[in-house]
Every structure is written in structure tokens, then in C-alpha cells.
């Protein structure tokens, strides 16, 4: 037996394969491992869309709020402050103040201010609208990521897909309740608004339609605990959650969980001003369009701290605080695609595909030995090496193994022996032609090479296209197929050639063609 460069490379490849596939195979503590896809370990996959129009609307609304605050603070008389989807309209009664108003409004980024006599209209430039919509998506991704990071699952995936879709993947969700919690946390707008109760008209709220309310610049909101209770509040909020700096779970005097929040300096100032001017009236704390509480204002509240009480459990309060802390979603999100797999189904899929893999593997191995004898055993060594290298490469890249990926591995087992079948058939042919062992092997490899390369490259082309255009689990199939094909070129062509060269002196001596190649010779 003599060493040659091929066998050395092959041996190194096997060592590489075994060493790097061990962490995945034995599930050791350290080391890079293959991650199981959601379809195998169970989990939640969602593709979310963002209603970007709503982001625009809420920006308009916040401009309206700041216009109101500006007018109140500077004692400017205004009338007919209204807004629709695209613009805010306000009439400034004191014509001397129009200029200062203009100045204030033009400081708002991307705003288009049009003044017609005493009526000022504020809208956004098309570029700004585009920007707001884009920001809504980026912000939604950031916000959802922040929320999920605090949720307590390992490695949640939140990523942009395409222009305006958000991919969320949560592995290891075990129960429907957990899934429900995650979904609620993700989709919660967490839009906090502090709104003034319209005390002049609130008594009549139960006899009012939404249109009636709108005509007073008000809006009817339900109570969070009891939707039958309604409040009439001014549509333009005093301030919103964008001025919130922190939110934490605390407990009230009855030891019920509450959420304590803190406002930034600007928010604290607005809050202080408002409470100072409205003692005796009520302030509605509104979250996602529901009134959580509407306490009486007893005195001016400085410092910008507030509390949201509600009838929630500690866990609910905790999730709510997470949502508030990580900020409101600028725009609501909706579901475009969802795939959730229970852990038991994943486990069943692993079991079934393992049975198929082992079954197919044993069939191929046995068949190769019966048909080719020693050449079959050599091909089988290459096949096993191929599997180890495949697992090692996947582990190193931290690739995800999906159910279609398992199918790809099974298919690799069937197709990886192809190269050896082609080579061995060529060698048999040459032996029949009366060539020497040495010549038959060398020419066999040389003749087979071109066909193997062409065939593998075309299969590789199909796999790569599948990878580029495939989605989700299908990508996993393309990955295992591609790596399997590449590894088979190393093991089946180079590796087996090395083995033959090493055994050549023995083969020359024995001349037993039946033993070596399964033919009479």
C-alpha cells in the first residue's frame, strides 16, 4: 500500500467531516451546529404586512396635537382645527399671529404649509410621505424585534423581506397559549394617548353617534374593562406615547399590577401645562383606542410620571410594559402568511424522514456491495464520507435543516453513488477490452470525468436556481442538494480514485476481477 495525494486529501476531508459534524450529531454543548427548521422543531413563521397609510394618518394627527399645544401656550386664538387623511387645517383668528404660526409650522420636517388668508393648511410633500411609509416599515421591524427580544425566546428572527414585508420566525414555541402571547405582543399597536374628556358634553355620550361626536371635534371611545361604558374625548390628544421614555410594572395600593410610565422633558411640560389648566376635569388614559382609566385632575402634575391601571394579570402587565417601552407601531400590521407547526408534528417529521434516510441508505449500500463487490464497498466509503462532509459544511455555516432539506439528503444518497457507478462501469468495460488493472482504473477515471462533471453541473444549476427563487423550507432542500453534489465530486471522484491507487499493487497481484469489480473478467 502506498500513500498518494488523493488519499491524503480524502482522509483530511473525512477528518473534517467527522470533526465538524460531531456537534450536530451528538448535540454537544459547544461547537457550531445545524439548526432545525421550524417545520422540524416546531415554531411560528409569519410574514407581516404594514398598513403604511395609517402611519401617515397618525403623523397628521400628531401635527394637529402640536398645533393645538402651540396655540394654547402662546394664547393664540384659533378656530376650526380639523384634519383628514392628508392634511391639517386651522384658522388663525389673530392675523398678527399668522407669521409666527407659519414659522412654527415650517419647522416641521417635510411639511408643506399653505396659507390662504387666515386659513393655514399643513400637508406633507410626496417625498415626506414616501419617507413616512418607509419609516413605518423600518420602525415596525425595529419595534417587533425589540419586543421579541424581551419575550424570552431564544433567537427570534425579525427581518425585512422584499420591499414591505416583515418576516418573523419564532422557534421553540411549545403551546398555543405561548403562541397567542407572542402574536399579541407583536401586533399590539401599543399606542398610548393622553386625551382630554369633553366634560361639557360627556353626559350625553350615550345618545351620540360617531358623526355627532366628530362635529364637536370629539371621538367616542369605549372603556377597556367594560366596553359598554363610553367616554367622549377630544379627538386631538394632549400627547402620545412617542414622548414616553420608560414603562414598568408596579403595584397599586391593592397590590394589583399597574404600569408606571415616564415622559420625556417635552412630554412632561405639555402634561404639566395641561393638568395645570384643567384641574377638576378628567384625563383619559387611552391605549390602542380604549380608555384604561379616566382619573380626575386634582392638581397640576409635574415631573411627567403617570400610571395605567387595568384589570390585568402580572404577565399581561409585563407584556404591555414591554410593548410600551419598545414604542408604538407607527402603523398597524396584518398577516400575509403564517405557518405554525406544533412540536409533536416536527418530531414526527424528523422520525419519518430518518426512517426514510436510513432505509434508503441501507438499500443503496447493500445493493452496491452485491453488484460491485469491492468497488461497491469503496463507493460506499465515499458515500458515508459524503454524508459526514455534508453535515459538517451545514454545521459550519449554521445552515437550517428543513423537512425538504432532509429529502435533499435522502436524494443525495441515491444520486451520490452515480459518479462511482459511471466510473466502475467504465473500468469494467476497459477490463473486458483486456486492459491492465492500472490502465483500466486510470482510463476509467479519465473517461468518466467529463460526463460526471457535465451531469453534476446541470443538477447544480437547477439547485442554485431553486435556492435563489425558493422560499422558506424549499431553500433548505436546495442547500442540502447543492452541498451534496459538491461533496460527491470530492469523495466519489477524488476519494475513490485515491483508494484504488493505494490498493493497486494488491489488485495487480490478485487479478480477481470478481472480488474487485464483481465481474468474471
Amino acid at each position: 500500500m502506498k500513500l498518494n495525494y488523493r488519499i491524503v486529501i480524502f482522509a483530511l476531508a473525512i477528518v473534517f467531516g467527522v470533526v465538524f459534524s460531531v456537534p450536530s450529531l451528538l448535540q454537544t454543548q459547544g461547537g457550531k451546529k445545524i439548526t432545525l427548521g421550524l417545520d422540524l422543531q416546531g415554531g411560528l413563521h409569519m410574514l407581516l404586512g404594514v398598513k403604511t397609510d395609517e402611519a401617515l394618518k397618525s403623523r397628521i394627527k400628531s401635527i394637529a396635537a402640536s398645533v393645538k399645544h402651540f396655540a394654547d401656550r402662546n394664547d393664540i386664538l384659533i378656530d376650526g382645527l380639523t384634519f383628514d387623511e392628508n392634511s391639517v387645517r386651522v384658522e388663525v383668528l389673530d392675523s398678527d399671529e399668522i407669521k409666527s404660526f407659519d414659522e412654527f409650522l415650517s419647522k416641521i420636517e417635510g411639511a408643506k404649509v399653505a396659507t390662504n388668508d387666515s386659513v393655514i393648511t399643513v400637508s406633507f410633500t410626496p417625498q415626506e410621505i414616501e419617507k413616512i411609509k418607509k419609516l413605518a416599515i423600518t420602525q415596525a421591524i425595529e419595534t417587533i424585534r425589540n419586543r421579541l427580544d424581551q419575550f424570552g425566546l431564544s433567537e427570534p428572527i425579525v427581518a425585512r423581506q422584499g420591499e414591505e414585508k416583515i418576516l418573523v420566525e419564532l422557534a421553540g414555541i411549545k403551546t398555543p397559549e405561548e403562541e397567542q402571547r407572542a402574536r399579541e405582543l407583536i401586533s399590539r399597536a401599543a399606542k398610548l394617548e393622553l386625551m382630554a374628556v369633553d366634560e361639557d358634553r360627556n353626559a350625553r355620550v350615550y345618545n351620540m353617534s360617531d358623526a355627532d361626536a366628530a362635529s364637536y371635534g370629539d371621538v367616542i371611545l369605549p372603556d377597556a374593562k367594560n366596553p359598554k361604558i363610553k367616554y367622549l374625548v377630544h379627538e386631538i390628544p394632549i400627547l402620545d406615547g412617542s414622548m414616553l421614555t420608560n414603562a414598568n410594572v408596579g403595584f397599586d395600593q391593592n397590590n394589583r399590577p399597574v404600569i408606571n410610565f415616564k415622559l420625556n422633558a417635552e412630554g412632561a411640560e405639555i402634561f404639566g401645562d395641561f393638568t395645570g389648566a384643567n384641574v377638576g376635569k378628567r384625563l383619559a388614559i387611552v391605549l390602542d383606542g380604549k380608555v384604561f382609566s379616566a382619573p380626575n385632575i386634582n392638581e397640576r402634575i409635574g415631573g411627567g410620571a403617570g400610571q395605567i391601571s387595568g384589570n390585568y394579570t402580572v404577565l399581561e402587565a409585563k407584556d404591555l410594559a414591554i410593548a410600551l417601552r419598545s414604542g408604538a407601531l407607527l402603523a398597524p400590521i396584518y398577516l400575509m402568511e403564517k405557518r405554525s407547526v406544533g412540536p409533536s408534528l416536527g418530531a414526527d417529521s424528523i422520525k419519518a424522514s430518518m426512517v426514510a434516510l436510513i432505509g434508503g441508505f441501507v438499500l443503496v449500500i447493500v445493493f452496491m456491495i452485491i453488484y460491485y463487490r469491492m468497488a461497491g464497498i469503496i463507493a460506499n466509503i465515499a458515500l458515508i464520507a459524503n454524508l459526514f462532509i455534508l453535515l459538517a459544511v451545514m454545521s459550519l455555516f449554521g445552515a437550517t435543516l428543513t423537512l425538504p432539506g432532509m429529502a435533499g439528503i435522502v436524494l443525495t444518497v441515491g444520486m451520490a453513488v452515480d459518479a462511482n457507478v459511471i466510473i466502475t462501469e467504465r473500468i469494467r468495460e476497459l477490463i473486458y477490452e483486456g486492459k491492465s488493472m492500472h490502465k483500466a482504473i486510470e482510463d476509467g477515471y479519465a473517461n468518466a470525468m467529463r460526463a460526471i462533471l457535465d451531469a453534476n453541473i446541470t443538477t447544480l444549476i437547477a439547485s442554485i436556481v431553486l435556492y435563489v427563487y425558493g422560499t422558506g423550507a424549499i431553500k433548505g432542500f436546495a442547500i442540502t442538494m447543492s452541498i451534496g453534489i459538491l461533496a460527491s465530486m470530492l469523495t466519489a471522484i477524488l476519494g475513490t480514485h485515491g483508494i484504488y491507487q493505494m490498493l493497486e499493487s494488491k489488485m495487480n497481484k490478485s487479478k480477481n476481477y470478481r472480488f474487485w469489480f464483481g465481474i468474471k473478467g
Partner: protein, 323 residues
């Protein structure tokens, strides 16, 4: 062991007319099935909702239907067994975009009292995503065929490329016909199977073509039919063997791989059989049909060799400073 020991070339081309007839009948039958029955698009492409429910004992499908009847969300829902009597899937064409309200939870509520069950899978694909996946899928199919065509044309000759594409269309058509015939849900996995089939079938064809190319270059024989016969006969052992090993593994996948992988395995199973057949009986006769002329090819090769030699000579002269 040996299945085919090469003695003399078998006359494949002589049988090509019969093979052509069979192929044409199969393809026409496939298109007829596709036209009348149509493909049964699954939720990946058509959009919709799937809820997979597993019971401890046999699933009470009748009772389930009764329970779901009242609920608007389950209008037109179909309930079918999935792999085993314990397991069923509820399929709906509708989807809901609400993130917090989950159809899985709704189903769990609605099926209360029908026995001990577990919701194992909920898939929702909105219409927009479904259309996108369809577009992407067709794009993938088209691109891989185009890329393969270019590669084969570059490595062989344009007629080889055309012949292999005809064989591919043949295989894909018949596989799709079988998918339609057995009413298999066409989802992303079936598309993956079709693309794998493209690669696999071509792999087989190329091995035969490589032999034909070798035969054309090496032998003095100018009769294409004879060259093809010899090439196919010589690769017959390999063709059958590789198909057999691949068939083994796909068959185990089909038998034991579980219900979710069933459609994928089925499509490939049909594809392997058709692909093996086509690389012998379809691709090569097409080559004949397009009038590949061995003599011309020889002259072309000879000219090419001459040009190369000339270039080589010039280079040698240049380097030794004669010019």
C-alpha cells in the same frame, strides 16, 4: 453481478418509432388530464388556510363537519383524512389578516367535545403571497431550463441542447399529468420536485449524450443511428443502476417519509421513471430528427483542430523569434 453485459449494440433507434408513439400518447393524455381536471393548486399558490388536527383515536370527521357548520369562518371548508385515520386537515380557501385572532384557536374552540385532539399545524397564505410564490415558481422553472439550455449548447452543440430540452418538457409534462390525475395538491414542494426532476432527467440524458459525443469523435463510423445505439447500450448498465438507487431512496421516502413529504416523493417517483425512459428513447431520436450530420461534425472538428494547430505553430514561431 451484471445486468447488462455488453456484447453488441442493441437496436434502440430501430424501436424509436414505437417509443415516439408511446411518448406522444402519454404527453397528449397528460395534457388532456391537465386541461380537463386541471392542477389542484394548494394553498402555497392559491392562497388559503390549512389546519391539521390529530386525534388520539380515529378522527370523527362527520361530527367535526357538524360542529364547524355553524361557523362562518369554516364556510366551504373541506375536511379530509391526512395520512392516517387519526389525522385530518381542514382546508379553506379564505384567509384572515388578523394577527391576534388565530384560526387555530378558533378551530380548537369549535371542535370542543369531539374528542381528544391536538392542532398540529396551521398554514395561512394570503392571496398576495400566493400570487408572488406562483410568479417566483414559474420564474424558477423558466430560468433553470434556460440556464441548462445554455450550458448544454455550450458544452455540446445546439441540437443536443434542443434534444435535451424536448426530453425535459416530455418528463415534466408527464409528471404534471400524473400529479393532476392523482389530484395531488400542487404546493412549493411539488415545484421543488419538478425542478429536481429537471436536474435529474438531464443528468441521465447528458451521460448518454456524452457517450454519443465520444462515439462521434472517436469512431470512424459516420452512421449516427449506429453510434447512438452503441452509446446507449454501453451506458445502459449505468442508466439502470443509478435510476435504481435513486428510485430506492425516493421510494423509501414515499413509503416512510410521512404525509407531508408525500407529494414531493410521488412527483419525483414518476419523474425518475419517465426521466430514465426519456434519456434513452426520447432525447436521442430527437437528435436524429434534427439531422445531426456526423460527417460534417468530423470536418468541423478537423478544421478546428487544424486551426488550433496553426495557432500553436504561429505562437511557437513567434516565441522563438522567427517572425
Amino acid at each position: 453481478m451484471e445486468f447488462f453485459k455488453y456484447k453488441h449494440p442493441l437496436d434502440f433507434m430501430g424501436k424509436s418509432k414505437i417509443a415516439m408513439a408511446i411518448s406522444i400518447i402519454l404527453i397528449l393524455a397528460s395534457y388532456a388530464i391537465l386541461a380537463t381536471k386541471g392542477l389542484n393548486y394548494g394553498i402555497d399558490f392559491a392562497g388559503g388556510t390549512i389546519v391539521q388536527v390529530k386525534y388520539d383515536t380515529e378522527a370523527p370527521i362527520k361530527e367535526m363537519r357538524e360542529q364547524l357548520k355553524g361557523n362562518k369562518l369554516f364556510d366551504n371548508a373541506s375536511i379530509t383524512e391526512f395520512g392516517s385515520p387519526d389525522e385530518v386537515v381542514i382546508r379553506m380557501k379564505t384567509t384572515t389578516g388578523n394577527v391576534t385572532q388565530d384560526i387555530g384557536d378558533v378551530t380548537r374552540e369549535a371542535l370542543k367535545g369531539t374528542g381528544n385532539f391536538e392542532i398540529r399545524r396551521v398554514d395561512i397564505v394570503g392571496p398576495k403571497v400566493g400570487n408572488e410564490l406562483k410568479e417566483k415558481g414559474l420564474m424558477a422553472l423558466f430560468l433553470s431550463v434556460a440556464a441548462i439550455l445554455i450550458y448544454v449548447a455550450f458544452r455540446f452543440e445546439w441540437r443536443f441542447a434542443i434534444a435535451s430540452i424536448v426530453a425535459l418538457i416530455h418528463d415534466v409534462s408527464i409528471a404534471m399529468g400524473a400529479v393532476a390525475l392523482f389530484k395531488i395538491d400542487v404546493n412549493l414542494d411539488v415545484l421543488a420536485a419538478i425542478l429536481t426532476l429537471l436536474g435529474y432527467s438531464l443528468n441521465d440524458t447528458i451521460i448518454v449524450f456524452d457517450r454519443i459525443r465520444e462515439g462521434i469523435v472517436k469512431s470512424k463510423n459516420v452512421n449516427l443511428a449506429e453510434i447512438i445505439n452503441e452509446s446507449i447500450t454501453r451506458t445502459l448498465a449505468r442508466t439502470t443502476l443509478t435510476s435504481l438507487t435513486t428510485f430506492f431512496v425516493v421510494f423509501t421516502l414515499f413509503m416512510f417519509g410521512g404525509e407531508i413529504i408525500h407529494a414531493f416523493a410521488f412527483t419525483l417517483l414518476v419523474g425518475i421513471i419517465v426521466g430514465t425512459y426519456s434519456s434513452i428513447f426520447v432525447a436521442s431520436p430527437i437528435l436524429m430528427l434534427f439531422g445531426f450530420d456526423v460527417k460534417k461534425y468530423h470536418t468541423k472538428l478537423a478544421q478546428k483542430a487544424k486551426r488550433e494547430a496553426e495557432k500553436e505553430r504561429m505562437r511557437a514561431q513567434f516565441e522563438s523569434g522567427v517572425m
